[in-house]
Symmetry: C2
Subunit: 133 residues, 2 copies
Amino acid sequence: LEAAGCRYTRQRAAVYAYLASVDSHPTAEDVFYALRNRLPRISLATVYTSLETLVSVGLATRLVAAGGAARYDGRGERHYHLRDEETGEVRDLPASFDDELLDKIDPQLVERLAASGFRVSGYRLEVLGRFER
Amino acid sequence: LEAAGCRYTRQRAAVYAYLASVDSHPTAEDVFYALRNRLPRISLATVYTSLETLVSVGLATRLVAAGGAARYDGRGERHYHLRDEETGEVRDLPASFDDELLDKIDPQLVERLAASGFRVSGYRLEVLGRFER
DNA sequence: ATCGATGCAAAGCGTTTGCAGGGGT
DNA sequence: ACCCCTGCAAACGCTTTGCATCGAT
């Protein structure tokens, strides 16, 4: 925390501790309600800013770029996407879609997931980076 | 359009035609402004509902589930995710992260993208489906 | 004629911001 | 003591909804 060059505060520490202790990928609101027991006066705005602080120093990741607008795609064939991490811009990735990619990660993945209660219907792959210029 | 069991309207047809004609992955607002020339009385709400109609009958895809809340992850190691397409719930995928997956799609992908002006910094893979019960 | 779709405006939800006061260094 | 962070509330941006009207079938 302080090692990452950010000031220690009770709230930030609590947000970080909670986030590191669960694997449920909570929303800001989830974190807020989880912390209210121990820190009754914490505000939702603080949770938001703390989370973004943690992301900016690399101690957390944001899984969905909510807040931006939804983007739509009218092309029939499935394909991968390039996403500019700074602007949110999306373009198509010029490469063919691989229906067997999940099998290449693990040949039994889909079956194992089914056995654990997750019915797979597809996957989505985004290459992250930056469009230059 | 009608083949998919949805009523033909000028607005829907225009939204669909525009979406199919571009590869820019427009936002609802982008579509709205693009159509205003031809359909000056179209409303933004109609564009939103038309887009969702197209998605529901499979003629379009929504690339980002904006509107939902952002989800955060405090775990250090990179990993894949499972996403419930109906609830938005996210869990970790129990499989090791493959740093070379992009190379398995195309060994020269990263270089080719660099040559075309996209600097790759990573990728994100989500397995889509449904948590049962 | 029917019933779903449109257009408008207002509400809704998640997120960010302005500002005054508090706490970490 | 300094300055950043917090808490509150209000603003914000994107999306959805209620309702009366319109239009495709």
